[in-house]
């Protein structure tokens, strides 16, 4: 991890700033003082004395990216990932902020666990790590967790992710109760009675492979249920990792009706299809599963028309030994922090979305969804979290160089164009791509005016 502690003043010079929250799209210098954005300066404006300079010539300067969906495995499964290794992978992938799902051991359903996560993150001094609390005690889907206590301890949302909220009754109470603490309920939407035993998308390929399928309908019905309940309660629901055409149709319709619903998609769901499972590669096993081409097209539509609010990684590290089991036995999930931005650039390169929309999906909207104040923007006085992008960077993902403790990715060896090359958290450069050290070396020269 290349960590460079910079003085109190940092100038990101000569870059092209895109900050959708302010509608800014143009050549600006970003001045950071004491961990906050001091202002966006026009080219040629006088730079304060003593500022370190990061030369972003030819690069895009964006608000720090925020991942709404990260599994860090600490406490309980530190052999897969720790908060420190997860945070290192995050900043290497351009994510200044990650929101940690509560399905650790113990589950984050108590202030003690919440505080532990925050303290471990502070020790690591890399990404901002915001814990997500459990919706129900032990994420068992029966009794509500102490959301008020958890909120005071520092959670930013509630979820039983990994498990769906099983009944309409519990979901209703969760939405009603969470509302009192301004917490959004994040649901992993799956009707378990339709997915029991399922290990991949149900369709032609599950029939060919003889693997038990998880039908798209299992996600659709629960998304519809949650939209109906959010409308009935006035509560706020965020649908995690949407993967089906039906889910998007339901969310689109609910938004038209004014329901407080938002949603995220994960890169593997638009990058891969169920055909990729053909060799029984367990690095293709995740929940929800990668689906058929028709669903991928629907995700593109949702990304294009605004139905999709956020891109989230669903980074889910697992040990190689666990992934070396039979397909039925291997755990669900793949890593994603270091590949997500590159795969998001595929969307830009393919003309699905433009760069500004990419930044909205990765920074502006995530901050809004979890009400992360003074983040997701480069507005004056916002936290100085910045992601610097090089849309022209051509690179190949090498899992051997991953900062994550785990190696369970289907994207090893994948060629990508577009990358996050530097990540700044609270005014500190916490990641600089080794091929871009020139950006920092430039600090010895005066900023070009």
């Amino acid at each position: 991890m290349k960590t460079k502690v910079i003085d109190v003043k940092l100038l990101i010079a000569n870059g092209y700033v895109i900050d959708p929250a302010q509608g800014i799209n143009g050549g600006k210098n970003v001045l950071i003082v004491d961990g906050r954005i001091a202002g966006l300066l026009n080219r040629g404006e006088v730079t304060p004395e003593g500022a370190e300079v990061l030369d972003a010539t030819g690069l895009i300067v964006a608000p720090g990216f925020i991942d709404l969906h990260t599994h860090l495995r600490e406490p309980g499964a530190e052999y897969k990932e720790t908060i420190a290794t997860g945070a290192a992978a995050a900043v290497a992938g351009g994510w200044a902020t990650i929101c940690a799902m509560p399905n650790t051991d113990p589950v984050n359903d108590s202030p003690a666990v919440t505080r532990f996560i925050i303290e471990q993150a502070q020790r690591a001094q890399l990404a901002n790590v915001f814990p997500i609390g459990a919706v129900t005690k032990g994420s068992e889907g029966r009794e509500l967790a102490e959301m008020g206590e958890l909120k005071q301890a520092g959670i930013v949302a509630v979820s039983d992710d990994g498990r769906p909220i099983p009944t309409a009754g519990i979901m209703r109470r969760a939405l009603e109760y969470a509302r009192g603490f301004d917490l959004t309920v994040v649901d992993h939407c799956q009707d378990l009675s339709l997915t029991a035993g399922g290990v991949m998308h149900e369709g032609r390929w599950s029939l060919i492979l003889g693997l038990k399928g998880m039908p798209a309908a299992a996600e659709d019905v629960q998304v519809m249920r949650d939209c109906v309940l959010a409308k009935a309660t006035g509560g706020s629901v965020h649908i995690a990792h949407v993967s089906t055409r039906g889910s998007l149709a339901a969310i689109r319709r609910a938004k038209e009706l004014g329901v407080n619903v938002t949603c995220e998609v994960a890169p593997h769901h638009w990058t891969l299809t169920d055909e990729a499972t053909a060799e029984y590669d367990t690095n293709m096993k995740m929940s929800p599963p990668v689906r058929s081409q028709d669903h991928v097209e629907a995700l593109f539509e949702g990304l294009r028309d605004g139905t999709v609010d956020a891109i989230a990684t669903d980074h889910a590290p697992h040990h190689a030994d666990e992934k070396a089991l039979e397909f039925d036995q291997a755990p669900f999930g793949i890593t994603g922090l270091e590949t997500a931005v590159g795969l998001a650039f595929d969307l830009v390169n393919q003309g699905v979305i433009n760069l500004e929309r990419l930044i909205s999906l990765c920074a502006t909207n995530p901050a809004r969804i979890f009400s992360l104040s003074d983040r997701g923007t480069l507005m004056k006085n916002a936290h100085a979290d910045v992601t610097i992008l090089d849309p022209a960077c051509e690179w190949v993902f090498d899992v051997a160089a991953s900062k994550s403790k785990s190696r369970n990715t289907p994207f090893h060896g994948r060629s990508l164009r577009g990358a996050a090359v530097a990540t700044i958290v609270g005014g500190r450069v916490v990641y600089l791509n080794p091929n871009y050290t020139r950006l920092i070396e430039a600090k010895k020269r005066p900023a070009s005016a």
């Binding site: 032609r204 029939l207 003889g210």
Partner: protein
């Protein structure tokens, strides 16, 4: 047209070309004669070791592979691994690696989970024969069925085949559909909507259709294949009762009136008499159930011969 079989493993029928299937069947035919001789043994695989690694209980398939190996003079070792001992700790991969360390020439694998043989093939070194993996494939069963059909019908191409019953959970049905359609037969499948989902028609590009009632599937059929129904499917709500299944989906003599006059009836076994097939059909003159078993040995001899090293020698050298 491929006239040799150059693959290292036999994991399924889906990935095979028609020529490879025909080559396997032709090879099996030559081995069938050996089983009809007084001395049923040739030295083709002398000094070679075949391990039958069965993670799922099976008498007939395991015995068939064992006899096939022995008739080729291979040393055959049977290992039955109960799922309970696997859950005690050792993974599939570790089990297989331990066996590989003893340098077998071929490992025959039966496993309750789809993809387990493919997993071993990818991670290990020995040739792998899939002897049935979950609901995925059972390639030697399809080959022995095809050998039986060829024996009685003289061909596969152009035949109409009905496959009836629990297609969804059947590796036998999948392997047969792949094989029969690749060789030019048309296949109709039928059974309860829960066990024969409409989407099953997408399994192959052409030659397969899904019928709701078994009568429609049998209409004009040259071959009627019946699949075994398992009681555990009733427990998971795929159908209401064995009684109702027998009434609506069991093959009865009246059904066969719709089939071609010289239609043959097949079943991979073991059969549930009076449930999926009436006894008078199973024991009747059209039933080839025991011929299937006999051909099973010949097909497995061919597969072991081609994969375990015998195939490297000339076919004539095997001791006629």
């Amino acid at each position: 047209m491929t006239t040799t079989f150059k693959r290292k493993h036999l994991l399924g029928i889906r990935e095979l070309a028609a020529g490879e299937i025909t080559h396997l069947l032709d090879t099996a035919e030559t081995f069938r004669d050996i089983s009809r001789r007084e001395i049923k043994k040739v030295p083709a695989l002398r000094g070679r070791t075949v391990i039958n690694l069965f993670f799922e209980s099976s008498t007939r398939t395991r015995t068939s592979f064992e006899i096939a190996a022995k008739r080729l003079s291979a040393d055959a070792i049977n290992i039955s691994v109960s799922t309970s001992s696997v859950s005690k700790g050792e993974t599939l991969l570790d089990t297989a690696r331990n066996l590989e360390a003893m340098s077998p020439d071929c490992i025959v694998v039966r496993h309750s989970m789809a993809g387990a043989p493919a997993h071993l093939a990818r991670m290990g070194n020995a040739p792998i024969v899939n002897a049935g993996d979950g609901a995925h494939e059972h390639p030697t069963q399809a080959l022995l069925d095809a050998l039986t059909i060829r024996e009685y019908k003289g061909r596969i191409a152009g035949l109409k085949v009905a496959i009836l019953g629990d297609v969804l959970h059947s590796r036998v049905a999948r392997s047969n559909i792949h094989l029969l359609t690749k060789l030019g037969a048309t296949v109709a499948i039928a059974g309860p909507g829960t066990l024969v989902p409409e989407e099953f028609g997408e399994l192959v590009d052409e030659g397969l259709r899904v019928e709701r009632g078994i009568e429609a599937a049998i209409e004009g059929a040259d071959v009627v294949m019946i699949l075994r129904i398992q009681r555990e499917r009733q427990d998971s709500a795929f159908f209401p009762s064995m009684r109702e299944y027998a009434v609506h989906y069991g093959l009865k003599p009246k059904h066969l009136e719709r089939a071609a006059r010289d239609a043959i009836v097949m079943h991979p076994g073991p059969i549930n008499r009076g449930i999926e097939i009436a006894s008078e059909i199973a024991d009747g003159s059209r039933s080839l159930i025991l011929d299937q078993v006999a051909n099973g040995v010949a097909v497995r001899m061919a597969v072991l011969y081609l994969l375990a090293g015998g195939g490297r020698a000339e076919l004539e050298d095997k001791g006629h």
